[in-house]
């Protein structure tokens, strides 16, 4: 008797707000232990897709199947309850699951310390904490649930470089320990290259996945130089440029995009995968690699 594999599977997902078609024919699969990044410009339906995946919106067309045992969500803003202490905020999901007060405080305390919060911060109200501390609390609130799937909605976009780097590390440690699946939204290509195993590039109007990249080097082994190089490479691909509304890359530069790295360079770990699911013929939809 084998349980179905733990995965998040999205098939043929379309969504409209009123007459505005926001998403069209989205399909992907996120297995356990994989970090996938959804990148795309603002307004391409990334957040809607994430909310559909989390079950915060009702699916109109298509199918979302989530066989992970527990799912946690981390929002763009910390979204802490202002009238509860940091500790109670962290324990919120555990309380919702019906855990006893002592037990949930013990766990919340434990994870908070691991995420770099101090004892005395835990009794404070959110407004008494700095932005970085609030983000830690929000991350702790998600991770304390020991989720198998973590959905991240650009949670680090407002933080400074040092803090981002620290939270990336905390997140990756946690992810590796638990074989957690992570689906994150970002418009920051470098963040995507830094953290993810797979990058799904979205294009707007309507929101759709135009291509998928896979990164073969484990996230823990990527250094800054690696991240810079592959971010630059990603930014040269025609699909990414078109998605973000950038002018086509300079002649020559475009040729040695993802498909054909220049021989002089080290071998790229970035591999383009043309989406398995066919992108439905949306208006003027262009294909990867152009």
């Amino acid at each position: 008797m084998s349980a179905p594999p733990r995965e998040l599977r999205v098939d043929g997902l379309s969504h409209a707000f009123g007459r505005d078609e926001v998403l069209a024919g989205i399909g992907f699969r996120l297995p356990a232990g994989e970090v996938a990044a959804l990148v795309g410009p603002s307004g391409c339906g990334k957040t809607t897709l994430l909310h559909l995946a989390a079950g915060l919106l009702t699916v109109q067309q298509g199918r979302v199947s989530n066989t992970f045992a527990t799912t946690a969500f981390m929002f763009q803003q910390p979204r802490l309850l202002p009238w509860q202490s940091a500790l109670d905020n962290i324990a919120l999901g555990l309380k919702a699951a019906g855990m006893k007060c002592d037990e949930r405080h013990y766990r919340a305390h434990d994870i908070a310390l691991r995420l770099g919060l101090a004892h005395r911060d835990l009794d404070k109200f959110p407004h008494q904490l700095s932005g970085g501390m609030q983000s830690r609390v929000a991350l702790a609130r998600a991770l304390v649930l020991a989720p198998d799937l973590l959905l991240l909605d650009e949670p680090f976009s407002a933080l400074d470089v040092g803090l981002k780097e620290e939270l990336y590390r905390l997140l990756l440690d946690h992810q590796a320990d638990r074989e957690m699946g992570v689906l994150m939204i970002t418009h920051d290509l470098m963040e995507a290259v830094r953290l993810s195993d797979a990058i799904l590039v979205m294009a707007p109007e309507p929101g759709r996945i135009v291509c998928r990249f896979e990164l073969s080097v484990p996230a823990a082994r990527r250094d800054d130089a690696w991240v810079y190089r592959h971010t630059a490479e990603l930014l040269q691909t025609a699909a990414v440029r078109e998605s973000f509304g950038l002018p086509p890359a300079m002649p020559g530069a475009g040729e040695r995009g993802a498909e054909a790295p220049a021989p002089a360079r080290p071998v790229s770990a970035l591999r383009l995968v043309v989406p398995a699911e066919p992108v439905p013929a949306a208006r003027g939809g262009s294909r990867c690699g152009g």
Partner: protein, 263 residues
């Protein structure tokens, strides 16, 4: 329990911070003294004789029955308006249509002067307790209703989304998300309404009843006894100040500690 302990721990510092308020009250007494010095004791008795008269009233036991009657009426009307205003305001806030509909009605209620309600109440209830109680209710109700309405209307969608994402059961949704937010709007409204009740009840009594502080004021007016008038005023205002600053304000501070900015 934790709330009570925190309240007790913060009490000395809170009471000490009252010295600033006491200082400005004392400056007010100085101004009062100056006015009585200029216009003479018939127009304005000085603070000491007003307090002396009040002390006499308290010591002779004449003050308590009047104050009790006034407090009974004020609190009855206030309790009714708290119950009705909070409940109806919350319900109206839940529906966009209901809140749209209720706003003009509340404006009418607020815009009608309490004295007009008093005249109506006298026609309806005569010289019974019903007159001041009704007037207090009508004066305090819209304040609380608006507070409850705004509290419900301004619920943060982001927090609601967060709560859904963390699968909060409906009961927790109410106790952890909705209630603290709504209370933070309701509580100031309750305090404001208490002040209104206390003022309106004295006015209603002045015209409509045979006992209570308002009636005592009417008597002292007819005797041209300004010292007694000031004594009653001091009693009414003093009681309100005491209730507000010794009871309600500390509770409010504790309940809204999460709001304070720049700790």
């Amino acid at each position: 329990m934790r709330l009570l302990r925190a309240w007790a721990a913060g009490l000395p510092a809170y009471l000490w911070s009252g010295w600033g308020a006491i200082a400005s009250l004392l400056l007010f007494f100085a101004a009062w003294e100056a006015v009585s010095l200029v216009y003479g004791p018939l127009v304005m008795p000085d603070p000491r004789s007003a307090f002396g008269t009040l002390l006499g009233l308290v010591e002779s036991g004449a003050a308590w029955p009047e104050l009790a009657a006034t407090a009974r009426r004020a609190l009855t009307g206030y309790a009714l308006s708290v119950a009705a205003g909070s409940l109806l305001g919350l319900l109206a806030g839940l529906s966009m249509t209901a809140s749209m509909m209720s706003r003009p009605l509340v404006t009418v209620l607020m815009g009608t002067p309490p004295i007009a309600w008093l005249v109506l109440a006298m026609l309806w209830f005569g010289a019974s307790d019903g007159t001041p109680v009704f007037t207090v209710f009508v004066a305090a109700f819209p304040v609380i209703f608006i507070g409850a309405l705004q509290g419900t209307r301004t619920l943060d969608n982001q927090l609601r989304g967060m709560a859904e994402a963390f699968r909060l059961p409906p009961r927790m949704m109410f106790t952890d998300v909705y209630l603290p937010h709504v209370v933070s709007y309701l509580f100031p409204a309750w305090i404001a309404a208490l002040g209104t009740s206390w003022k309106v009840v004295v006015m209603a009594e002045l015209l409509a009843t045979q006992d209570g502080v308002g009636a005592a004021l009417a008597v002292s007016r007819s005797h041209l006894d300004t010292a007694a008038t000031m004594a009653w005023i001091a009693a009414v205002v003093g009681l309100l100040l005491a209730v507000e600053y010794l009871v309600l304000e500390p509770i409010k501070r504790e309940v809204e500690r999460w709001r304070e900015h720049g700790a």
